[in-house]
C-alpha cells in the first residue's frame, strides 16, 4: 500500500510537471470550450442583430416593437438613422431592419356610427405596411423577423375584425427549455478531452518510458507490474476529474452552459470513459515501440473519432451506413451517455446499448493489454 501511494503521488507530480500531458488534458479542451463558448454560449439563442425604426410612435407601433423585443431571439440595435442602418445591412453588421411607417396605428375615425347601438364602437385604422429590409445572407434572421411581425399583425387584424383565435400553436422544446447548441458541444468537448488526454497520454507516455528505459529499470526491482499500472491509471483519472471540473466551471460561469442532470453521474461517466481510453492507450503501447509510432497511432485513432462520433453534431446527421459503424466506436456511446445524463437528466441505463458497447470495449482492450503489454522486452 505504501508503495502504491508513493507511486501514485510520483505519477501525479509527473503529470502536473509534464507540459505536454498538461496541454492535452487541460489546455486543449479548455481552448475548445472558450472558442465554442464565445460563438454559441454567451448570447444564447441570438439569431442576429435587428433594428426597428418606428416612424409612427403610436401605442400600436410600440406594442409591435415590444413583441419583437420580447421574442428574445434578436440582438436589438438602436440609434441609427435609416440610411446608416441600410449601410450597416450592406456591410453585414446588421441582420435585418424593420421599418414601421408613419400611418401605422393611426386612427382615422374615432368611432363608427352605429345605428342600433348593440355593437360597441370600434376605432378605424389606417391601412399600412410594415417594411422588413434584410441582408440576403441572413435568411434565418429575416424569416424569423417576418414570422414574428406577421404573427403580431394577424393577431391584431383578427382582433380588429372581432374574431376569436380558434387554433393556435403550443411550442414545446424537448428536454430543458434553455438548452443550446453550446450545451451539446460542451458535453462533446468533455468526451473529447477524456479521449485525447487518456489515449495520447498513456500511449505516448508509455512509449517514452520504454525509450527512456524507465520501464526496464522498474522491472529490475521487485515492484509488481500491476502496482505500477494501477498507480499510473488512478493518477490520470484524478487529473481527468480536474479536467472535467475545469471545463464545467469555465463553461457554466462564463458562457451560460447548462447541465440539467446529475453532475455526480457525469463525473462517474467521465471516470469510466477515462478508464476506457487509457486501456486503448495501453493497447496502442502494446503494439508500438517508439514514441513517434505511438503518437502516430493515437492520432490516427483519435482524429476520426473527433469528427465522426458526435462531438460537434449529432451522428444521425451522417449517412445511415456510416452511423451504423460510427455508433460502435468507443467515443460515440460515451457521448450519448454523458448527454443522456447531463442534458436530458435521464438515467445512464435508459439506453443499455451504450453501456454495453463501452463495457465491451473495456473488456477487449483490457484483454489485449493484459496479454500484450510488457514493461520490458524479453
Amino acid at each position: 500500500m505504501k508503495t502504491l501511494a508513493k507511486l501514485f503521488i510520483a505519477d501525479l507530480k509527473i503529470l502536473v510537471r509534464n507540459r505536454q500531458a498538461l496541454f492535452w488534458s487541460l489546455a486543449f479542451p479548455l481552448i475548445f470550450t472558450v472558442v465554442f463558448g464565445l460563438f454559441f454560449g454567451s448570447e444564447s439563442q441570438s439569431l442576429g442583430s435587428l433594428m426597428i425604426i418606428d416612424n409612427s410612435k403610436t401605442e400600436l407601433s410600440e406594442s409591435l416593437s415590444d413583441a419583437i423585443k420580447d421574442s428574445e431571439v434578436f440582438t436589438l440595435k438602436e440609434g441609427l438613422s435609416e440610411e446608416q442602418a441600410r449601410e450597416d445591412l450592406k456591410k453585414g453588421k446588421l441582420g435585418a431592419l424593420v421599418i414601421i411607417p408613419k400611418q401605422f396605428g393611426e386612427i382615422v375615425e374615432s368611432s363608427i356610427q352605429v345605428p342600433s347601438g348593440t355593437i360597441p364602437s370600434q376605432p378605424k385604422f389606417n391601412k399600412a405596411d410594415i417594411k422588413v429590409v434584410y441582408d440576403p445572407t441572413s435568411i434565418q434572421t429575416n424569416s424569423t423577423v417576418v414570422s414574428v411581425v406577421d404573427k403580431f399583425l394577424s393577431q391584431f387584424n383578427l382582433k380588429v375584425q372581432g374574431a376569436e383565435n380558434l387554433y393556435s400553436i403550443e411550442e414545446e422544446k424537448l428536454g430543458n427549455e434553455n438548452l443550446t447548441y453550446f450545451d451539446f458541444v460542451l458535453t462533446g468537448i468533455i468526451g473529447m478531452a477524456l479521449m485525447n488526454s487518456s489515449i495520447i497520454g498513456i500511449a505516448v507516455g508509455m512509449a517514452k518510458y520504454r525509450e527512456d528505459k524507465i520501464l526496464k529499470r522498474v522491472t529490475t526491482t521487485p515492484l509488481r507490474t500491476w502496482k505500477f499500472i494501477v498507480a499510473e491509471v488512478v493518477s490520470r483519472l484524478i487529473v481527468n476529474l480536474f479536467q472535467i471540473a475545469l471545463i464545467l466551471i469555465v463553461s457554466t460561469q462564463f458562457f451560460n452552459a447548462h447541465i440539467v442532470g446529475s453532475i455526480f453521474t457525469v463525473f462517474m461517466i467521465a471516470l469510466l470513459g477515462g478508464l476506457l481510453f487509457q486501456l486503448i492507450g495501453f493497447t496502442i503501447a502494446s503494439f508500438t515501440k517508439t514514441t513517434d509510432a505511438a503518437q502516430g497511432m493515437s492520432t490516427a485513432l483519435t482524429i476520426p473519432m473527433m469528427f465522426l462520433t458526435g462531438i460537434f453534431f449529432p451522428i444521425e446527421q451522417l449517412p445511415k451506413w456510416l452511423v451504423s459503424v460510427v455508433e460502435l466506436l468507443p467515443l460515440a456511446p460515451l457521448l450519448r451517455m454523458i448527454r443522456t445524463v447531463a442534458l436530458e437528466a435521464e438515467s445512464v441505463f435508459t439506453e443499455p446499448k451504450n453501456f454495453i458497447i463501452v463495457a465491451v470495449w473495456i473488456i477487449v482492450c483490457f484483454a489485449i493489454s493484459a496479454s500484450r503489454f510488457r514493461l520490458s522486452e524479453e
Binding site: A10, I214, R217, P222, E378
Partner: protein, 308 residues
C-alpha cells in the same frame, strides 16, 4: 568461497541469431567481476538474464544459490541494477526518484547518505535533465544501491564519460566494493577492467574466450613484455637483429617501434641489443589486458577467414 552467481551453459537466441552461446562462469562473494568485450559481444544480454529481465533460451542461472527462474522476486530484493545508459523520470528530482525506488523494496537505505557518496547532495532537488552526463552516471549508480543490495550490477557505467569523470567513477566503484558489496561490471575499456576487476571474463560474439584473475590471465598473452623505442630510423640490419628476439611492429606514431617479447630471457637479450642501437628513448612495459583482448579477438577473426 561463497558463490553469489553460478551460470551454467547459458544460451540466448533471438530467432536465428544467437546472442549468447553456452557460457558458464561463477562470481564469488566480495569480488569485482568484469565482463569484457566489444559492443554486441553479449555482455548486456548475459547480465540481464542474471538480473531476471530476460529469459534464457537454455541453461541455468543461480543467484545466492537460488534458481533465478523460481526466485525472481527474492533475488530482485537483494540485487542492485544499473542499466546501460538508463534514464530516470525526467520530471522528478533526484531525491524523489530515490525515495520512489526505495518504496519498491522491503529494505531501504538512507538516500541522503547515498547522495553524499557521489557528491550530489546539493543536486538533490534538481531533475535528471538539470545535471551533467557524469553526474547522471553517478546518480544511476547510487540509484542501484537504494535497497542496500549485496550484489550490484553495473552495465558500462563509464561509457561516454570524459577521462576525469571516468576516474571519478572508478573511485565510486571501489568505494562500493569497500562497503562489502559484490560487483559485476561490464565494460569495453580494458584499462578500466585492469584497475577495477579482481577477475574478468573476455566475451566475444556470445562466447567467453578467457576467464580468470585479472593479473594471471594477462600472462596468457603470447608476448607478455614489450619494449617501445623512439628513434629516427632503424637500418635493415638492426631490424633483423631485433626481430630475432620477438615481434617487431612499427608503432602508432612516426619513428616509433614496438618490440613484443615472448618471455623474460628474450626481454633481457633484446635490451642489450637496444642499448647498442641507442635510441632516443625507450620504455619497457608489461602486456595489458588490451593486448590479450586484441590477440584473442584478432586471432578469432583470422580463424573465421580461414573457415570461409
Amino acid at each position: 568461497m561463497e558463490k553469489y552467481i553460478e551460470v551454467k551453459d547459458l544460451h540466448k537466441r533471438y530467432g536465428k541469431s544467437s546472442a549468447v552461446k553456452g557460457i558458464s562462469f561463477d562470481v564469488y562473494k566480495g569480488e569485482v567481476f568484469g565482463l569484457l568485450g566489444e559492443n554486441g559481444a553479449g555482455k548486456s544480454t548475459t547480465l540481464e538474464m542474471i538480473e531476471g529481465l530476460r529469459r534464457p533460451t537454455s541453461g541455468e542461472i543461480k543467484v545466492f544459490g537460488k534458481n533465478i527462474k523460481t526466485n525472481t522476486r527474492f533475488i530482485k530484493q537483494k540485487i542492485g541494477v544499473q542499466l546501460q545508459s538508463s534514464a530516470y523520470y525526467s520530471d522528478l528530482t533526484l531525491r524523489e526518484i530515490l525515495d520512489l525506488f526505495c518504496s519498491f523494496y522491503d529494505n531501504c537505505t538512507s538516500t541522503q547518505e547515498l547522495l553524499e557518496i557521489v557528491n550530489l547532495e546539493d543536486k538533490a532537488d534538481k531533475t535528471v535533465g538539470q545535471i551533467s552526463g557524469g553526474q547522471k552516471q553517478r546518480f544511476s549508480i547510487i540509484a542501484s544501491l537504494v535497497n542496500d543490495p549485496e550484489l550490484v550490477f553495473l552495465d558500462e557505467p563509464t561509457t561516454g564519460l570524459d577521462p576525469l569523470a571516468r576516474r571519478n567513477l572508478w573511485d565510486i566503484v571501489l568505494e562500493i566494493k569497500k562497503r562489502g558489496k559484490t560487483i559485476v561490471i561490464t565494460t569495453h575499456y580494458m584499462e578500466e577492467a585492469e584497475v577495477l576487476c579482481d577477475r574478468v571474463a573476455i566475451m566475444d560474439r556470445g562466447e567467453i574466450l578467457v576467464i580468470g584473475d585479472t593479473d594471471q590471465i594477462i600472462e596468457k598473452v603470447d608476448y607478455p613484455f614489450k619494449i617501445k623505442l623512439s628513434t629516427k630510423g632503424l637500418s635493415q640490419k638492426e631490424r633483423g637483429k631485433l626481430s630475432k628476439f620477438g615481434n617487431l611492429d612499427p608503432g602508432e606514431r612516426k619513428n616509433n617501434f614496438v618490440l613484443k617479447l615472448p618471455n623474460k630471457a628474450s626481454l633481457i637479450n633484446a635490451l642489450k641489443e637496444v642499448e647498442n642501437i641507442n635510441p632516443e628513448t625507450f620504455t619497457v612495459e608489461k602486456a595489458s589486458l588490451e593486448d590479450l583482448f586484441i590477440q584473442l579477438t584478432g586471432r578469432r577473426a583470422e580463424k573465421d577467414e580461414n573457415l570461409s
